[in-house]
């Protein structure tokens, strides 16, 4: 391998370090990376198009399946947007239950990330410890909602399942153990020498760069940008809860690890408050059966923001008065964080690629959304020219590409 020659190393679309397909073409010089090319959208499933064909209630279950780890984030954000268009009052108890499930989801997501990060570093022991402790959170979620992921707890106007009195002891017991383990990880992981060797000064993103690139979530907070939707634009029960926004100043990979570890500790505190202060009341504010609510959505558009474990999740819903939405647009948090990955990759080593990519907690299933307008200006241009395509044109193009019959 002659020095100075630029070789292209493909990481993906199938690669042991990636949990989902994505393609990074790295220009390398020896072990150092000089440039990177991202290709996402391998996981594009046409969610937004499918959402236009189902009614508002069915869309909850569809949008939940955008991602398995942040499923509650997507349903809550969507349901909040629809409830704005619907003029229904969500009772306090339902808001508290949504917060409870949301924070439990943050716990399980961050513990999952801790394990995956450990595995990318070659630290399999940390991986198994983190995932063993994650089982406690998943057991709690299964008791509360009936499923370990894809909880389907939200419905238009409130939640579907109540938290019974006899479930509180189990929840508190699991929470105590998770708190203990979280304190252990927050103390031990940043002290282990090999973790420091791998994570310190890797993929540094300054505060200015993070602000400029509009990073969200723990990625931005680790660079010192204190953005948190739960404080800026409180939803559900967050305006009544007392918690801190965890930030760090260094902006390197170690900072992102520390921010997530401390967020686990913080989330445990929030869950404790929710369990202590849970108000009495109904779990749904609608006074009609839920399957009739799709017809009650008025014309208009609404935006809803939610602090998913990965950052700010944004849902836009446009209604035309019928029982199916006219347009649903999802901007997942990982979408906003990809430019920081490209920035972080430049100037670092090949060995750091999986770590830097894992550092933003990527969810490629969340990211892959492409909008195609059926009428009016179709904003998709395939060959880079001015040619604009409608949905039918795109379909014919695809068939032609794959050598099938074009009708």
């Amino acid at each position: 391998m002659s020095g100075g020659s630029d070789e292209r190393i493909p990481v993906g679309p199938q690669h042991p370090s990636l949990k989902e397909p994505a393609n990074f073409m790295l220009d390398v010089d020896g072990e150092e990376i000089t440039g990177a090319d991202l290709t996402l959208s391998y996981n594009h499933r046409g969610m937004e198009e499918a959402a236009q064909r189902k009614d508002y209630l069915q869309n909850i279950y569809l949008l939940e399946r955008i991602c398995g780890i942040c499923s509650h984030s997507h349903t809550t954000a969507y349901v909040q947007a629809v409830e704005e268009l619907m003029d229904v009052e969500v009772p306090d108890r339902a808001k508290y239950i949504r917060t409870l499930i949301g924070e439990l989801e943050r716990l399980h997501s961050h513990l999952l990330w801790l394990g995956v990060g450990g595995h990318e570093m070659g630290f399999d022991t940390l991986w198994h410890y983190a995932w063993r402790d994650r089982e406690l959170v998943l057991d709690s979620l299964e008791e509360l909602t009936g499923n370990r992921v894809h909880y389907a707890i939200n419905t238009l106007g409130g939640v579907r399942e109540d938290v019974e009195e006899d479930q509180f002891p189990m929840l508190r017991e699991n929470l105590e153990e998770v708190k203990e383990r979280a304190a252990y990880y927050a103390e031990v992981v940043p002290e282990e020498e090999t973790v420091l060797m791998r994570c310190e000064d890797v993929g540094v993103i300054s505060r200015e760069t993070a602000s400029e690139l509009c990073a969200v979530g723990p990625t931005a907070r680790a660079s010192g940008v204190p953005t948190d939707v739960r404080k800026e634009d409180p939803y559900a029960a967050y305006d009544q809860l007392d918690f801190d926004v965890i930030t760090h100043t260094d902006g390197d990979l170690l900072a992102r690890v520390i921010v997530r570890l401390e967020e686990i500790v913080e989330s445990c505190k929030i869950v404790e408050q929710v369990l202590d202060d849970m108000p009495e009341g109904d779990i749904t504010g609608a006074n009609r059966p839920t399957h009739t609510l799709s017809n009650m959505v008025e014309e208009g558009e609404a935006i809803s923001r939610y602090e998913a474990p990965r950052g700010e999740d944004l849902h836009y819903v446009k209604s035309d008065g019928t029982d199916t939405p006219e347009r649903v647009k999802v901007r997942a948090p990982t979408m906003a964080n990809w430019p920081t990955v490209v920035e972080g990759l430049k100037g670092s080593y090949i060995a750091d690629t999986p770590m830097i990519v894992a550092g933003i907690d990527p969810c490629i299933s969340c990211t892959a959304r492409i909008g195609v307008e059926v009428t009016g200006d179709a904003a998709v241009s395939i060959d880079g020219g001015d040619r604009k395509l409608s949905l039918d044109d795109l379909s014919d193009y695809a068939k032609d590409w794959y050598g099938q019959e074009v009708n």
């Binding site: 022991t125 499923n147 894809h150 282990e192 020498e193 059966p289």
Partner: protein
């Protein structure tokens, strides 16, 4: 050297004494929560043939046929999301969520359940 090498070793050695975290499924039975949403269970007796279940299902897993004389209720396990919306929508509670999750089969025909009754 800013950190402590081998910081995890005390915990690692302590773990040797702990009971293993793995469950020996399928030799041991899986411990399910009460609210676990498995395959739905349908009873023809309370069913009025209203078709609400078919209307609310997000995955088109339930199909009904009603020609005035005979009502057929068809359920496809492979399409079902196990969300439980049909159980909520059904007025006489003819559909409830069961706990069965061992549904794998090598034969696609086994995935469709069909019930019919005379109206």
């Amino acid at each position: 050297m800013k950190g402590i090498p081998g910081r995890v070793i005390p915990e690692a050695l302590r773990t040797l004494g702990k009971e293993r975290a793995t469950v020996k499924y399928p030799h041991e039975e899986a411990d399910l929560a009460d609210r676990f949403r498995g395959k739905i269970e349908y009873e023809a007796d309370p069913c009025t043939g209203c078709g609400l279940c078919e209307r609310v299902c997000p995955a088109d897993a339930i199909e009904t046929e009603n020609d005035g004389e005979r009502f057929v209720w068809r359920y496809d396990i492979s399409r079902c999301l196990y969300c439980g919306q049909c159980t909520e929508a059904c007025p006489p509670d003819a559909i409830v969520s069961g706990q069965d999750f061992e549904l794998a089969s090598g034969n696609k025909e086994n995935f469709v359940e069909e019930y019919g009754f005379e109206r």
